[in-house]
């Protein structure tokens, strides 16, 4: 690094250069700092280089923090796959029946949009809900259990991949939107329903066949993990008119891989 020659000045030796940089980084011993201080007094070239490098590092240190895009955190969280929660915490979660019958559950789900939330939050202490818990929850979560196809059919998506196949239908009745899910997979599968910004709140899941392994609502997305023959209904409720025509975005995963993305029109016309 002899570019100082370009300026017509004699190059500063490597030892002095190391002292200058070490001083800038606060890494010099007192002896080394004394040595540099002497050089700064006796050598104009060292003094000049010290000033220049100090300016460069100050400019670097003063570069402002750049604001990350607002969607980034939510987008990351939505895509991250974690292992299904084990049954290890079951004993600590206590009886499900008691709290299932309270309004806490629905109140909790109503907070889903925009707030990072998992079903483990509810009045259970700090332990996450387990796969077995979720299975027990299914069928009892929704107060307004939809046990059959109700409402006007708005849209549907047919899946036919090697790992996951079936049908999802979106229906509407009043303020209630229901996703009737009928899927078949050999291995673990997951349906992610993104409803953030649609003016909807999560209203519950009703199991009709096979347990849903886990249900979580995170940052405006419902994650439903299951396997085998699956039939369940996801309910969403209109709470505002915001973006009421924006389609619901669905992502289907099988064996941890995204196999299909789809949009379902919320508006009939």
């Amino acid at each position: 690094m002899n570019e100082q020659n370009d300026t017509g000045r004699a190059p500063v030796d490597q030892h002095a250069l190391a002292l200058i940089n070490g001083s800038i980084d606060g890494e010099l011993s007192s002896t080394e700092q004394d040595e540099l201080d002497r050089l700064l007094v006796t050598s104009p070239n060292v003094r000049k280089l010290n000033e220049e490098l100090t300016t460069v590092t100050r400019l670097l240190d003063e570069l402002p923090e750049v604001e990350a895009p607002h969607y980034l955190q939510e987008s990351i969280e939505r895509q991250v796959r974690l292992p299904l929660q084990s049954d290890a915490g079951l004993e600590k979660t206590g009886r499900l029946g008691g709290w299932l019958s309270t309004n806490w559950l629905r109140t909790g789900f109503a907070l889903a949009a925009g707030v990072v939330l998992t079903v483990s939050v509810y009045e259970m202490g700090s332990e996450p809900i387990t796969a077995r818990d979720s299975a027990n929850l299914s069928g009892t979560i929704a107060k307004r259990a939809i046990t059959g196809q109700q409402g006007v059919l708005l849209d549907s998506i047919q899946l036919d991949t090697s790992a996951l196949s079936g049908l999802v239908e979106l229906r509407n009745e009043g303020e209630l939107f229901t996703l009737d899910v009928q899927l078949t997979s050999d291995g673990p599968s997951e349906l992610v329903v993104n409803f953030a910004g649609h003016g909807l709140e999560f209203d519950g899941v009703t199991r009709l066949q096979e347990p849903v392994d886990s249900v979580s609502v995170v940052a405006g997305a419902i994650h439903l993990a299951s396997h085998g023959e699956q039939r369940y209904t996801v309910s969403l409720r209109r709470i505002s008119e915001a973006q009421q025509d924006a389609p619901l975005q669905l992502e289907f995963f099988a064996n941890g891989e995204l196999v299909q993305q789809a949009e379902l029109n919320v508006s009939k016309f």
Binding site: M1, V56, V80, L82
Partner: protein, 183 residues
């Protein structure tokens, strides 16, 4: 950068606790994004890199060796991902010659935004090895030892690269200023 706290959150994530994942993402999203931004020089690429970094982090959580600090591991993935994107971008398109925009006058006279752009432009002219150590030192605030751990390089090499990078930045900024004054 709290090792024990991070280790506990990592263990919770391994058990499938999404709240722990959210906390780790919250904690490291901004610094990772900023490091990526300074290496890549644009917001969209930095956001893509950051997203990929976290997907890789959680996908490979089982491989994480807890004898290392979690942040070092995350930064290592971040640096590698950013550098991969640099390579990918280079193979797709020639670098924008207009990156080093004209110097608008002496540093003292520049408004802060322009000055930042000049410094970022100068940073982008460094090769990736030099840029990475500068970013880890001055943007991420890592010590020589931490940079050494992240890049898996001897401290001596880290220092050497950092000192050389500063000299090159100094020269680039001085040349820009000279060019501007000559116009």
């Amino acid at each position: 950068m709290h090792k024990d706290k991070d280790a506990a959150l990592v263990n919770d994530c391994k058990r499938g606790d999404r709240r722990a994942m959210t906390r780790l993402v919250s904690q490291y999203q901004r610094p990772v994004f900023n490091a990526a931004y300074r290496i890549l020089g644009n917001t969209d690429d930095a956001a893509d890199a950051t997203q990929t970094v976290f997907l890789k982090v959680f996908e490979h959580l089982a491989d994480y060796d807890q004898k290392f600090k979690f942040f070092s591991w995350v930064y290592r993935i971040a640096v590698n991902e950013a550098l991969n994107q640099v390579k990918k971008r280079r193979s797709q398109e020639s670098l924008d010659d207009g990156q080093a925009s004209s110097w608008q006058g002496p540093a003292e006279a520049l408004d802060s935004k322009r000055l930042c752009k000049r410094v970022q432009d100068a940073l982008m002219l460094l090769n990736e090895d030099y840029r990475t150590v500068v970013v880890l030192k001055h943007i991420s605030g890592c010590s020589y030892q931490q940079i050494s751990e992240i890049l898996q390089l001897p401290e001596k090499t880290v220092k050497s690269r950092l000192y050389s990078a500063r000299q090159l930045l100094k020269k680039t900024l001085q040349d820009d200023e000279s060019d501007q004054q000559g116009q």
